[in-house]
Amino acid sequence: MKQSCRPMPKLPSSHQSAAVRLPITEHQLSMTQLPTIYSITESEIDLNDLLARITLTSTGAAAIFTGMVRGVTARGDAHETEYLEYESYVPMAEAKMKQVADEIREKWPVVEGIAIVQRIGKLYPKTPTVLIACTAAHRDTGVFDAARYGIDRLKEIVPVWKKEVGPDGQEWVEGDYIPKPGE
């Protein structure tokens, strides 16, 4: 699982002076950088682990979106799903997830930690397939909108596809978003 960090914008002066005086250890780095996790995985999505990794001592709120395989669809073209088979262009997908995280930080600088994880492979109804979580100091900081933006953006530009298999056969699900230059 990849993790990148960027400098935290504002630090108490005590942290800054400590960082200047002492050799930089891994522990200190973790205190002065914001956690960003982005990953395509074939493993189960571990919400507790991800949440712990994007929670800072200053964090008081997390907005978490997770999507799961829907076995019975009532809206629109009603149908049943036996399983979904996900695939991804992994190196590009992870780079685009990083881009989504960067866009979130640009729009909501108050966001502290970000986790974006897409599970791939054969996934059955009720199984979580994707998770976007954003943390912040408080809930009224735009953190809900940040997580909403993350899942919407993932569905636009991150190269992942799913094939739906049901009682009537199988069919690739195709999106409808055409990325623009620079996306």
Partner: protein, 82 residues
């Protein structure tokens, strides 16, 4: 001539029948010309080339872009993750 690697995903891979392909293409070939070549060389892909998304070295690319040497080119339908 430029050497490139093509990667296919989802419906495009099913129609191509392979996951990837190495290709020699003329220098200065554009994405549009590459799509036309693929549609001609692989009739199964002809229809798909109208709506396919294309990337050059993992960034979205468009018809006018020139394919660089040793590029990793991917072709796939609009994404459907989540």
């Amino acid at each position: 001539m430029n050497h490139i690697k093509l990667l296919f995903f989802a419906t495009i891979r099913d129609r191509a029948g392979v996951k990837s392909m190495d290709l020699e293409i003329p220098t200065d070939m554009t994405i549009l010309q590459l799509k036309e070549k693929l549609g001609t060389d692989h009739p199964n892909l002809k229809e798909s080339m109208k709506s396919v998304l294309v990337t050059i070295n993992r960034e979205y690319a468009f018809d006018e872009a020139v394919v660089p040497s040793n590029a990793e080119i991917a072709l796939f339908p609009p994404v459907s993750g989540g």
